[in-house]
């Protein structure tokens, strides 16, 4: 099955309890399936950046095999609120 922005969003919401997800399909800029995602989840609280990214990589392990490029930004709900105000 082809990896889509919707599939990525659904997985992040169901498996990481993400409260906000933005998925940008950047494939047109590159040569193959590429995505840029912003994930806001309370599960990131108290976790350093590397661990947050590992959580996301694990959640999307199957999809990443077919993805050419993947950019991610991981925020806690608190960090997300702060960023929105800026």
């Amino acid at each position: 099955m082809a990896v889509t922005a919707d599939l990525i969003r659904e997985k992040l919401i169901s498996e990481l309890a993400a409260v906000h997800v933005e998925v940008e399909d950047t494939s047109p800029n590159r040569c193959a399936a590429s995505f840029k995602v912003l994930i806001v989840s309370p599960q990131f609280e108290g976790k350093p950046l590397l661990q947050r990214h590992r959580l996301v990589n694990t959640c999307l392990a199957n999809e990443l095999k077919e993805i050419h490029a993947f950019e991610q930004k991981t925020l806690t709900p608190e960090q997300w609120e702060k960023q929105k105000q800026q």
Binding site: L49, L50, H53, N57, L64, K65, F70, E71, Q72, K73
Partner: protein
Amino acid sequence: CSRLLCSAEGQKSLEEMVKKDKVVVFMKGTPAQPMCGFSNAVVQILRMHGVDNYAAYNVLDDQDLRQGVKTFSNWPTIPQVFFNGEFVGGCDILLQMHQSGDLVEELEKLGIRS
């Protein structure tokens, strides 16, 4: 995975590779000629911080290395950055560390002044 660098022996040689130099980068292309925007971003960030002497390995030259380093670090993408033998992250993480100022601190721990 039966390829050379995925074997126990191969993983051991990767461990030696990442410990041999303070800063080690696995990338697509070379620092002089990066072949991918993400690898280029890592090169540029390191350059901005005055990190000139680092070991860069081109995964495009070696498919075993490309797969082996992913297994070694349990990280699915290239580029990959190591400080003092420890996995730091990929391009996104290095960029965020650069923006937050954490990178200056980490480099200082290695004795590198930004």
